[in-house]
Symmetry: C2
Subunit: 484 residues, 2 copies
Amino acid sequence: MNDLTPITVARGDGIGPEIMDAVLRVLQAAGARLAPEFIDIGEKVYLAGNSAGIAPSAWDSLRTTRVFLKAPITTPQGGGYKSLNVTVRKTLGLYANVRPCVAYAPFVATHFPKMDVVIVRENEEDLYAGIEHRQTDEVYQCLKLITRPGCEKIVRYAFAYARAHGRKKVTCMTKDNIMKMSDGLFHKVFDEIRAEYPDIATEHYIIDIGAARLATRPEVFDVIVTLNLYGDIISDIAAEVAGGVGLGGSANIGEHVAMFEAIHGSAPDIAGKDMANPSGLLLSAVMMLVHIGQPEVATRIHNAWLATLEDGVHTPDLQGEHTCQPVGTQAFADGVIARLGALPQRFKVANYANDNAAPALVIPRYVRQAPAKKELVGVDVFVHAPQGTADFLAGQLSALVTPAFELQMITNRGVKVWPGGFPETFCTDHWRCRFVPRLPARTVSNVDVIALMQALAQRQIDFIKTEHLCTFNDERGYALGQGQ
Amino acid sequence: MNDLTPITVARGDGIGPEIMDAVLRVLQAAGARLAPEFIDIGEKVYLAGNSAGIAPSAWDSLRTTRVFLKAPITTPQGGGYKSLNVTVRKTLGLYANVRPCVAYAPFVATHFPKMDVVIVRENEEDLYAGIEHRQTDEVYQCLKLITRPGCEKIVRYAFAYARAHGRKKVTCMTKDNIMKMSDGLFHKVFDEIRAEYPDIATEHYIIDIGAARLATRPEVFDVIVTLNLYGDIISDIAAEVAGGVGLGGSANIGEHVAMFEAIHGSAPDIAGKDMANPSGLLLSAVMMLVHIGQPEVATRIHNAWLATLEDGVHTPDLQGEHTCQPVGTQAFADGVIARLGALPQRFKVANYANDNAAPALVIPRYVRQAPAKKELVGVDVFVHAPQGTADFLAGQLSALVTPAFELQMITNRGVKVWPGGFPETFCTDHWRCRFVPRLPARTVSNVDVIALMQALAQRQIDFIKTEHLCTFNDERGYALGQGQ
């Protein structure tokens, strides 16, 4: 065969090697056209001094094959080891985390036998950018960054996925009643892009209500698209209410590279005992086959796996009243292989062949919009001042000789404390001081910001952070203070 | 009686007036020693032009009585009306949101009949400070602020609450594997304060796992303390898995003022029909009675309410196979009044009298620590640059004439892109440029930061934000870049 698709395979740690062997045997028996390249990742690589658990040569393989089938790894305790997944995901731009969460009752216990949800989680930005600063003695900050390209890519992916896989509805979850600009952007982009998919139903939930609904009525959802942090939380909720993380597969999709892995860990306590269930990794491999354009092989494997489950061929984690044949890891793989070509009787038959799913993963590239007309209209200066009150600080700031700017308000933890604060408002040592042009008509520039900072420095006022206030096409690009 | 406690009461909108009437009748019949002052809040007040739904005179009552029993309100659609709850909470420093989530099976359907969880949610800070900036064409930012006083107050409250109410365990939930400094502070403060409560068991969950566990095994939790956003999400999950928001009460506790309300809304569709269940507001009033030092009245009402539920006296929302006497709002209140003095047979008997709970609400005031030795060791400058690459920008920045600082790295959405980036990393128009002293031994100051900004301005480099890099007592007060 000349059409073998190169893929990078990592056998991982703990139960990784044995479940990967089982999965590769099923892939081969099913006729998957693959040329695996093996790389080492995980514990040994960390301990050899690679702080992210992956050696430079392994990057070359990933960047060449662009497809990564990954077994779970063990991160050594202590020592400042960095998450391999976060490193791979961010370095290679794997912007979409895709997790189907399906109930397999009665073989897996769940309160929600009809559940069949796919969570599409933004994977690169939000609070996970890891930009944190201690700003004063008392105050720590983490930046939440939400970008238009980030929102467009993930929302487009969710709709493309839904259409390719015959899904009917995409639900967006945000907290835009509080974070009107950042989460508001995500919701706005969702509204823009859904207009291109009139065949797909849409809805929006505030994340707290949405998460609660997912926990109690998961069968009402189909595809859910959401921001990184919310997606992290709800994908764990969805996996648990479906019956646990044991059978879950996942994909991490980027423009260049895609990574497929089980959602469970390396379970070192049962490693080497032929006890582990290879289903999570196998279902990840099914997603991989669809991704690389071998949907007919994906269909054969998925149906054989469903038939194996139905026939009561169960690894120890699933054994119970519905088990006919208790098996270990490798015998389970043999059971799937023996059923290649069979269809499930009880579960819905998988059929990727008509789904046209592979092109769904090639979403249009992000097209940068023309720059808006941006105008500087003020600056928020954050001051570290452990002593004194808002009124005292306002007195100091109002006395500054700053030709361009004057003090408009002071907030503490977002609450306006000057002018007109309440004495009950608790204040930390961290004050956000908003300056606006003294003469509203005057144009201000970075030179004026610098002059303001010079005036602050001359008075020994300890500024520790600035945020420019801009308008974009005459629209305010900053939130008002609470109480302003 | 000379010992009447003044409280402020708002009858609210929708079903508010009728459930408040029912609750006040129960309070009176039970012998609560109260002197209610009535204020108007909500729809009419919004429409009269008060953008937060509360008139100035009402603030005077709240600040005098310092106890607020509040019915649900309706916020008019559109028009930029601000959340009354957010305004009251932040202005009066109501730092703790307390929500008991209890299963009342079989009268309320739930998968978890043993559930009895109290969620203690930080209520003032986190991403809810509302500080958002659009920084470039593509990038929006929301600040997450976590403070030591905020963490100390809420964690102390949770432990004091647990001890006063005879609770056995406090669970902390954070995402400190990702947000090591901000969520890390919360976890660190939890570890500090739990040492003062050796009689209370403790544990910590990463929020995604914790939320999933709460959705599937809520009976393993007792008291949960967490940050604002996570608390928002999990308190909705907990209410839903317990059986719904219908019976939930809540307290919002501050140093000066406390507010008590049901967690459901104003349900205008059933307003005025004598159909609403007053239980959520009644259980909030029970929390209020404990708070103001009338625990024996609280006990009588709570037990009578449990007995009423057990006797099958049910408003329409609860009617089913366990209902013996279908009733409306007022007849339900009559049922509770008729049972004052009775005890439940099936549910656990409430007993606040021995709980010493009121002092639990007077936690020690936050004591500011001595300032750390703070040293400026660099500055992150954020640049808006729609064109060009990281290498191009690095070339520009490295060529600046800045006596004190030199460029150390550039990140885009937190990923290091210079030096040594990958071409696969997707870049927005928003670059974080880290400058550190050119000579490591040199002391730098705000004057040097200003000189750097002047050099940037001279080269027309569009900086839009700065974050100082400091050490506190020689400990690094900023996160490294991903890949740094």
